[in-house]
Subunit: 333 residues, 2 copies
DNA sequence: CTGAAAGCGCTAACAC
DNA sequence: GTGTTAGCGCTTTCAG
């Protein structure tokens, strides 16, 4: 009932365990016939090397911890999927934990990762809790923040200011003059801050007024509520697509049809937005590129790369679909 | 630079390794003052037990492998998140791998899980490849299929026939007489088969005609295509919400407004469907309950529960929103 | 090219 | 109560 070990293979093929180890790892040169004898024994016994033992003796694992705030948000689901693909291509496995945005859960999960001796970590929506980063640095576990920024550790994200400016510029170009920034609890705090500030700056730059920001209760909208929205604003820039879709719905409940009565631009570019009944006009983040760069960065550090935090900034892209048009009472163009 | 081990703690507190082990695991009785001395040393040294070593010596891990076809599909993202929560509550960590529906990738990932000696596995969209299940059984690793069915291993899912019947009954009740079943490549084969068969049976039972089934190319729709759809059918039952949303879009491209010209009912009940511009009428699966039951089932097996495969079947629920109404040319009710 | 020996960091009997 | 002793299954020098 007990699994065969390397010793069983050694015995069966009449060689020592180190020779078996050599053929399995493809290390060192082994004479062809010994090699085939070992392989035959492996096959007959159904031997499968024990990764746990290997990790212990090598004093390192090939596991990457991935910390994500909300896997139910397709943007992160897609990102995690891409991260897993790239990691696997380099022989690493991913251990995924969801934090629900809670700082305590985040700490608890990191604690788990640390005990499991993950080789590195990818942080998707870090709570911003300094303690966590502090802990990682103290433990010497490399980490990279993806799709968000962090001065303290490596990161890869998009040029947020540019993205928001693209959104605001698009609305301004359509003739909108009074815009509102919309966020929700599903947006990570730091990201929200950056996007909001960029929004204010972009409004300035494009000669638009900034209406008071809206904090949308997505769950309430999901449950059927029709929240009050600023009547003076004709254009809305949402902090992310999830929020944007909820916003379109909320506007509808307030009898404001998009894009006839109000325009909405999202941020993230999740696949579903192309299908969301309304085709959401949004600022897309290059997910594939982000995942690739993120994985490469942690693996570099794991491989021993030294130096101050590196920050990769990618270009976002405006995807024009149908939720933004000229404001009411104004002819096209 | 090297991490402190249990030995360092022992030395520092002037006791033996096993005593340290005892206080850390809370096993055996330890005198209060030795206990506090050990704890102090742990603290000072920043000692963190090595989970890898523990796993090796105990000959078991507390890792659950989760295999998912498409994490980008919010239904699965949400499910994985829930699974992780329940697993963590029982002291287990999850290792997530995406298969993209490919049978080779699936086998490769399972292979990885096996080397990592996961204690059990949760299969979300098994390709149906008998080889994989065979492998798991041969290796003696417990597995549970969640949100799908499998005769060979434990499973938890919804009563598919009932769910589809709910959808068909709803359309029939609205006055539809000719219905089409719609699927896409994003639907796992076995699930698709079951739902399709249930659809045919339900049409019969509700006195509806079955139009020829539609295989929607979601990616093409995403890319802007307007696929040909059966003109004779007024009601559509989609194999899942993702497909349903694409279908609504596709119908729109064909100048058939939902629900005026055609009605659509989805299946799954992902959170976003409430917000998808159009509120999708759909058959919801009890995700929370599924995750809970699934985790409980594997953990039971891991704990040694014997016996033939068990199958938990939960009740789906019709969620009426706005994509289904009376067919054209027919007054309401 | 192959084998022997020494651990990796921890738990789990079993003595004291 | 606490310490001693064996390993868990593997990789890795280092001899032969």
């Amino acid at each position: 009932m007990t699994r065969p070990t390397i010793l069983d293979v050694a015995e069966r093929s009449g060689v020592s365990k180190s020779t078996v180890s050599n053929v399995i790892r493809g290390a060192a040169a082994v004479s062809p016939d010994v090699r085939s004898r070992v392989l035959a024994a492996v096959d007959e016994l159904g031997y499968r090397p024990n990764g746990v033992a290997r990790q212990l003796v090598q004093r390192r694992t090939t596991t990457l911890g991935v910390l994500v705030g909300d896997l139910g948000n397709p943007f992160y689901g897609e990102l995690v999927k891409l991260l897993e693909q790239h990691a696997h291509a380099d022989g690493f496995t991913t251990m995924v934990c969801n934090t629900d945005g809670s700082s305590e859960l985040e700490t608890a999960r990191v604690e788990t990762f640390l005990e499991r001796r993950v080789a590195g970590m990818v942080l998707l929506q870090p709570s911003g809790d300094r303690g966590v980063l502090e802990l990682l640095r103290a433990e010497g576990v490399p980490a990279v923040v993806v799709s968000s920024t962090s001065a303290e550790v490596d990161s890869v994200g998009v040029d947020e200011a540019r993205g928001v400016s693209l959104a605001v510029g698009h609305l301004a170009g359509l003739g909108h003059r009074r815009l509102a920034y919309v966020t929700s609890a599903y947006v990570e705090a730091r990201t929200n801050l950056v996007r909001h500030e960029s929004f204010a700056a972009a409004c300035d730059a494009h000669g638009c007024d900034e209406a008071s920001p809206v904090e949308l209760d997505v769950d309430a909208v999901l449950a059927g509520a029709a929240p009050l929205l600023d009547e003076s604003a004709t254009g809305f820039v949402a902090a992310n697509d999830f929020t944007a879709i909820a916003l379109v719905e909320a506007l509808g409940r307030n009898r404001r049809i998009v894009p006839r009565d109000a325009s909405v631009v999202g941020f993230d570019g999740i696949a579903l937005t192309a299908l969301a009944g309304v085709g959401l006009t949004t600022v897309a983040q290059p997910r594939g590129e982000m995942a690739r760069a993120g994985v490469r960065m942690v693996l570099d550090r794991i491989a021993g790369a030294e130096g101050p935090p590196r920050h990769v900034v990618l270009e976002p892209e405006l995807v024009v679909r149908t939720t933004a048009a000229a404001p009411p009472g104004r002819s096209e163009r």
